[in-house]
């Protein structure tokens, strides 16, 4: 009788100890994996997730970024500069590149950009032009800077063309202000007016998306314009 109960107690103690060791092992091995950051297969588990970021597309080479950075820094978008926009002389000095090189840099934007065309001597937006600006602005995606590069054709005096291109740039900017009332507009839009003096567009730009689709387009026509585009580069 006594033996039976002694065995009972001994067996109970033995199995109790076994169960305690099992429980301890279960918990401590999980704790070790937690400490080491490994899975029970021994593989590391922590993967760094992708972080939300702005766009950076293929054409964002260092050359383009350097030119853009110079423009943005000097035309008031980046830093504490209080000026708003850049005129032809500034652009020449700031970018430190030739007219052709300047245009070449922007060629990869052919699918992203649009060209708003103006009548001779005019700077007011047509309905189609306004629509084109709105569509382009709405399609921001991961870009953070919107370039408005205004020009004038070589018709007429240089000084007048400079003023005209400035007015054209402002037409686009004011339309964006009025239509979208974006509180950050000033930080997003890079305004350049080149008059007739810098980086005149060659005729091949007539093939780009513009506000007068299907209409005849000459070198003069394509330079009475504002090129608008979001830039998908992290500058």
């Amino acid at each position: 009788m006594k033996t039976a109960w002694i065995v009972n107690i001994a067996a109970a103690i033995l199995f109790l100890i076994l169960s305690l060791l099992t429980v301890k092992d279960m918990v401590t091995s999980a704790g070790e994996r937690l400490e080491k950051g490994v899975a029970d297969t021994g593989d590391a588990v922590k993967k760094n997730p992708q972080i939300a970021s702005l766009s950076e597309v293929e054409y964002c080479n260092e050359h383009l970024k350097t030119v853009l950075r110079r423009v943005l820094e000097n035309c008031g978008l980046i830093g504490a500069g209080s000026r708003r926009g850049c005129q032809p002389d500034d652009v020449k000095k700031i970018t430190m590149i030739s007219d052709d090189d300047f245009n070449t840099l922007f060629k990869p934007l052919s699918k992203r950009a649009a060209i708003v065309l103006f009548d001779k001597g005019k700077s007011d937006l047509t309905e189609e032009a306004a629509k084109l600006i709105e569509e382009n602005w709405t399609d921001q995606k991961g870009a953070s800077f919107f370039f408005v590069v205004a020009r004038a054709s070589t018709d007429g005096p240089t000084e007048l063309n400079r003023v005209l291109s400035h007015k054209r740039a402002n037409s686009a900017l004011f339309h964006l202000h009025e239509k979208f009332k974006d509180p950050d507009l000033e930080q997003k839009v890079g305004l350049l007016w080149l008059g007739e003096e810098f980086a005149q567009l060659p005729e091949e730009f007539c093939a780009w998306n513009n506000s007068r689709k299907g209409q005849p387009c000459t070198v003069e026509d394509i330079n009475r314009s504002v090129v608008i585009s979001w830039i998908d580069c992290r500058i």
Binding site: A12, V27, G31, D40, G142
Partner: protein, 401 residues
């Protein structure tokens, strides 16, 4: 010992063994998750032997992740699994039944009573959890079913052993007294509570992990990109969600069920994992999420209602949006006709883009769901078993500051 008593003891031992096996696997599966990772779990009637498919696993996972699978989740990360005491109880019953068989103690009243009591405890618990399973969770996990089965067999075997101990045949030796029962009761208590003590004492310190998942950056919200979904509450909570993300739906429901939810003043920031509007993705994880996100933006102060509607129909929308977004559009506009004009407007497209740009400003990880409480991020690893513990720690962290 009478043949009947032997049979009853074998029955009790069998029930205890079945209960022990299933309780052990349930506890082991639970304990695996203490490393805050995702693991496969046993969910078959042959645990440890039969492979469990993902579909079969879902019932057991639902049960395991539910608040009913463990106690004191605020105090211990994951809480104390209810299957742990049951391991001790079934082990005690098995040891007692085998001992009685070995020493021919089928007529021992103390042993009979101890087996009947353990059977009663386990059957009582099984009935409770069966109803919880059916009523609250609407799933029946196979491992739980194994525990219920073991409990019933143990109870029947224990009860019959107890009855048998009072019915001695003529000439049969004295079946012992009831006075050894307290000794067995002490054993039962030790088998039940000592593992619980060891479990809680062996748990690692989780504080450094639950508070170490970063903070929400500060950035001015010029475009009203956050959508309020719950106005009252003392703690600012920001949910980063994709309306078509199943984990977001489950997490939201889990959080809503907790009393801590009432303390949150909640708003959402949309992060649709759909390349239609999200330039950060090369492939859409949830096609249609951009449209639904825009619908939520249009709903403004009614976003909570629209979100509930989307979550209620998420499964259908996920399938449908992959094939035909127009069907989803019709369903949403049918329910909320006021959203029709707003969703496709330029302003909404811009706002959606600004929402994503805000995610960039905040340097958010590109995953959903995320929850920030008073700027402190709830770790992804703490969104299920460790949720209550992590919430308590984050709340305390705020108070200490």
């Amino acid at each position: 010992m009478k043949t009947k008593s032997t049979l009853f003891l074998i029955l009790a031992a069998l029930g205890a063994l079945i209960g022990l096996i299933f309780s052990y696997f349930s506890t082991a599966d639970f304990a695996k998750h203490l490393d805050r990772q995702i693991h496969t779990i046993n969910c078959s009637l042959l645990p440890g032997i039969e492979e469990t498919g993902l579909a079969e696993e879902s019932g057991c996972r639902t049960a395991m992740m539910s608040e009913y699978s463990s106690l004191w989740r605020e105090k211990y990360w994951g809480g104390l699994p209810v299957s742990l005491p049951s391991v001790g109880i079934f082990l005690f019953a098995l040891v007692t039944a085998l001992w009685a068989l070995l020493f021919k103690r089928g007529g021992e009243k103390s042993a009979g009573l101890a087996l009947a009591v353990t059977g009663l405890i386990t059957v009582g618990a099984s009935i409770f959890f069966f109803f919880v399973s059916m009523e609250k969770l609407q799933v029946l996990c196979k491992v739980c079913a194994g525990i219920y089965l073991g409990s019933v067999i143990l109870f029947v075997g224990g009860l019959l052993t107890l009855i048998g101990s009072f019915k001695r045949d003529e000439g049969e030796p004295e079946g012992g007294t009831i006075w050894k029962f307290p000794l067995l009761l002490v054993q039962l208590a030790l088998f039940t509570f000592l593992p619980v003590y060891v479990y809680t004492k062996s748990l690692p310190d989780y504080d450094k992990y639950v508070l170490g998942c970063g903070d929400l950056k500060q950035a001015e919200d010029k475009y009203n990109v956050f959508l309020p979904i719950k106005g009252d509450g003392s703690k600012d909570a920001v949910f980063i969600i994709d309306p078509l993300c199943p984990a977001c739906k489950v997490f939201h429901a889990r959080l809503k069920a907790l009393p801590e939810y009432s303390d949150l003043k909640a708003k959402i920031l949309l992060l649709p994992l759909d390349k239609e509007c999200n330039w950060m993705l090369s492939d859409s994880l949830h096609p249609g999420a951009c449209f639904l996100s825009k619908a939520l933006l249009c709903a403004k102060e009614n976003a909570s209602q629209v979100l509930d509607f989307i979550y209620d129909n998420q499964e259908e929308f996920r399938v449908t949006a992959t094939g035909d977004i127009n069907k989803v559009r019709s369903r949403v506009f049918e329910k909320f006709p006021g959203l029709n004009e707003c969703v496709d407007s330029k302003q909404t497209k811009i706002l959606m883009n600004n929402v994503l740009h805000h995610a960039v400003k905040l340097s958010l990880p590109l995953l959903t769901p995320q929850l920030y409480i008073d700027g402190k991020r709830l770790c992804d690893e703490d969104t299920d078993l460790g949720l209550k513990y992590a919430l308590k720690k984050i709340f305390e962290n705020k108070r200490e500051k």
